[in-house]
């Protein structure tokens, strides 16, 4: 019915200016822009990820290509600005659009690997890199460099070496600022595999006066020590390493470190004089000072320089707290040395002091080496780092909180494996927090969806629209009636006569019977001719005035009719839009509750899995800490026993001497 009515409206009714040609039932008007679709030639080369990606703008046009192009562009954009989560999202959409499980382009695949790398998924990243590599594609030097870095710190030296070599030969080349560090990674990963000559050869690319060279030399020295290398070469390497280090905090720390291991190595080879030289050069400001002082003392002891040996230990005990591992080791050293130089009284006093300290420490240690306090210690650290993100977004993790446990576990905290496990626990914590937040967000969305559905139902949109439509129909009918009248009007004699005109015509009409009657009566005195004449004149005038006014009136009427029609048209369009909106409004909730449920259950499953990992990680760390503390307990107890034994021995010797001199037998 509506269609018929509208078609009716569409008919050109009057011969006047052109009517608009659109229909209220047609969709889109004329302004849609169409462009030619050209070749989708994206000239970004496979071996040039992220740089100089060219897009041919003439390619714009057909929906599919355009959307694909845009998604590809979105992917690159999010990668280049560092929004890595969005990068994976756009990649998935891009893949979905082109109907492929694989990444469409090689450089996009490399970027995906780089994103995984940044998010802490080294294994997956490496697998992708190697796949790209084996298929003849290349990743950029920087990408290989980042991978090499991660692999090296993970302890995978062979793979790190391979990545480093790939980085050096990659196109586009490695950025200048990473060159030195990469060469350090190469040299160090070869050193870790104990291939000294190759590592030495690989040193060629490193600049002498650079901290990375220092670190590379350090790792090489370690390898040489492990392999019991020729001492002259080793000494030369040590001297060279120390000589070229930069004069800053980092350089000083590295220098001390090299001197320490050199000294220890020399000690073990019984080159005590050389060891002295190394130890004495260490500063008193770095983290390597305590072990250096300790070993210095041992070294001097080995040379029977007893009095000299006590010096570094005293300094050690003065500068550092009693929980420091090196200090703990030195406890018995001092009184033992005093014994060796026959300073018995001092030795006794020293042993007594040591015995007292160790007793307290052992007591304390036993108190804290239990599940609860270790758990609290970890918990405090986890709390401290709760604002840090996981994976690539994490910058640094804070140190463990300053507590009794930390003091005792100083040695453990230097253990790389422990730190790695700790970082892993942090990551798991953060992941769980993210999952919990996502779950809560989905809960909020569920409420929103219920609200939307409810609101739509309450609106009663359909009924409202139906009522409005009925009213529209009435209006339309009235208009059609007017239209009919207008059509008829054209046929009438007195078309477009106004009311006053009609009244006058009516009066004229009414005069006719009266005149006719008078004519019939026909009295001689009645002359009807002037009346007839007047009537004809009146009629003529009236006709003239009607016909004169007719065009204007016809114009006005038709114009008003057109305006009315166009208003109705607009109203119909509006009605249609509103009906469409109502249909669309449904899409704001339809299908979503199910999707939300699916995601929620996935999150719950992931959360459970991560929870289990978290639990086992926590247990592992607590176990490691407990083992360490137990071992420390045993050691301290041993030292305590040794101190007590030594005291007993000294007292005994002293008594022996006293009564031996006097020849008396002590009273029972």
């Amino acid at each position: 019915m509506r269609i018929i009515l509208s078609l009716f409206l569409m008919l050109p009714l009057f011969s006047m200016a052109e009517e608009p040609t659109y229909s209220i039932w047609e969709g889109r008007p004329d302004s849609e822009q169409q462009t030619e679709s050209g070749d989708g030639a994206n000239s970004g080369s496979a071996d040039d990820p992220g740089a100089d990606i060219e897009i041919d703008l003439d390619e714009l046009g057909v929906s599919d290509d355009a959307e694909s192009r845009l998604l590809r562009g979105n992917f690159y954009y999010s990668y280049l600005v560092g929004d890595y989560y969005r990068t994976l999202y756009y990649l998935k959409r891009w893949q979905t659009l082109i109907g492929s499980e694989q990444t469409p382009e090689t450089e996009a695949e490399v970027m995906r690997a780089a994103v995984y790398l940044s998010l802490g998924l080294e294994d997956q990243a490496e697998a992708i890199f190697y796949q790209v590599f084996s298929e003849g594609g290349t990743a950029s030097g920087d990408a290989w460099y980042f991978l090499a870095q991660r692999l090296f710190s993970g302890g995978y030296y062979e793979r790190a070496e391979q990545s480093a070599r790939n980085a050096l030969s990659a196109v586009p080349a490695l950025s200048g600022r990473h060159q030195q560090e990469l060469r350090y990674l190469l040299v160090s990963s070869i050193s870790e595999q104990d291939r000294i000559e190759e590592a030495t050869a690989a040193m060629a690319g490193l600049r002498d006066k650079n901290i990375w060279t220092g670190y590379a030399r350090y790792n090489l020295i370690l390898a040489m020590i492990r392999q019991n290398f020729n001492s002259r070469d080793l000494e030369a390497m040590i001297d060279e390493a120390i000589y070229y280090l930069p004069e800053n905090e980092e350089g000083t720390a590295l220098r001390d470190r090299i001197l320490l291991i050199a000294g220890i190595a020399a000690m073990e080879r019984e080159k005590h004089v050389m060891a002295n030289r190394y130890f004495s050069d260490i500063t008193l400001e770095s983290v390597f000072t305590p072990p250096a002082l300790l070993h210095y003392g041992w070294n001097l002891l080995a040379q029977w320089r007893y009095e000299d040996a006590i010096q570094p230990w005293r300094i050690l005990q003065q500068l550092y707290d009693e929980y420091n591992p090196a200090v703990v080791e030195s406890y018995l050293a001092v009184p033992h040395t005093l014994e060796l130089i026959d300073a018995v009284n001092q030795s006794v006093l020293a042993y007594e002091r040591v015995e007292e300290s160790l007793s307290v420490m052992v007591q304390e240690l036993r108190g804290i080496n239990e599940q609860e306090s270790l758990g609290n210690w970890l918990a405090a650290w986890r709390e401290d780092n709760s604002a840090q993100n996981w994976g690539w977004q994490r910058q640094t993790l804070t140190d463990l909180p300053d507590s009794r446990v930390t003091h005792f576990a100083q040695a453990l905290l230097n253990n790389e494996i422990f730190n790695e496990e700790l970082a892993r626990l942090h990551d798991l914590d953060r992941i769980r927090a993210d999952l919990a937040k996502a779950y809560a967000d989905l809960g909020l969305w569920e409420n929103v969806l219920i609200e939307r559905r409810q609101k739509l139902a309450d609106l009663g949109g359909e009924e409202l629209l139906d009522r409005l439509e009925d009213r529209q129909m009435d209006v339309l009918r009235s208009i059609l009636a007017v239209q009919d009248r207008l059509l008829d009007e054209d046929e009438t004699v007195f078309s477009y006569a106004s009311r006053s005109d009609e009244a006058r015509i009516e009066r004229l009409r009414n005069v006719v019977p009266a005149v006719t009657h008078l004519q019939k009566i026909g009295t001689p005195t009645r002359d009807l001719a002037p009346y007839k004449e007047r009537w004809r004149r009146m009629r003529g005038l009236q006709l003239w005035s009607i016909y004169e006014a007719q065009p204007q009136r016809k114009w006005d009427t038709e114009r008003d009719h057109m305006i009315l029609r166009s208003e109705t048209d607009t109203l119909f369009r509006q009605l249609e839009s509103t009906r469409t909106s109502l249909a669309w409004a449904d899409s704001s909730w339809r299908g979503f509750p199910e999707r939300v449920q699916v995601l929620k259950s996935r999150i719950a499953a992931a959360d459970e899995r991560v929870g289990q990992l978290q639990q086992s990680q926590e247990e592992l760390l607590t176990e490691m800490a407990r083992d360490h503390l137990t071992e420390l307990d045993e050691r301290l107890t041993l030292y305590l026993a040794q101190a007590r034994l030594a005291l007993a021995r000294l007292y005994d010797d002293s008594l022996q001497q006293e009564f031996g001199d006097s020849g008396e037998v002590p009273e029972e």
Binding site: S153, A387, K455, Q574
Partner: protein, 172 residues
Amino acid sequence: MGYLARYVVLILLGMQIHAHADTQADNSQSLKPGDMVPDFTLPAVNGFGQRLQEARGSYLMVIWLGHCDECSERLVRYQLLAESLEIEGLKGWFVWTPGGDRSPPNMRLPVLKYEPRWRQGWVFKDRPAIMLINADGRLDHLITGDLEDNYQETEEVVMRWMSQGRDYQRPE
């Protein structure tokens, strides 16, 4: 009735935006040391805009200017301080708030401009102030008060902060 369409679609969809509202509805912020600094993007009067998120990984000194009308002279020392530590990884930004006929300072470092119409930005309430934000995006130090009076203290704090704070992963 023309508005019914918009009402139906937009109001309904507007409901959930409340749940995920932009947390910077109130454009001024009040922070204390230890807080994570909310991300912002502000335009600069002398170059590209700056986004806090992009400065992650570097140490950042943000100087919130108070009443500043071409106050370049007062800020020269801060600029020199930031530039001298640039090699150590320190970045420095000024944030200027326009008002009346005031003109921004003419500096080499980025001078960001806070304007309420840019919803990606916010302004610090207690200006003038100096914020020292570490590589993780956390506010480490906050020094409020007159910039000239506080320069000495700022310099000391910055030097100490830079020498202590660098805890990046060292190679083995």
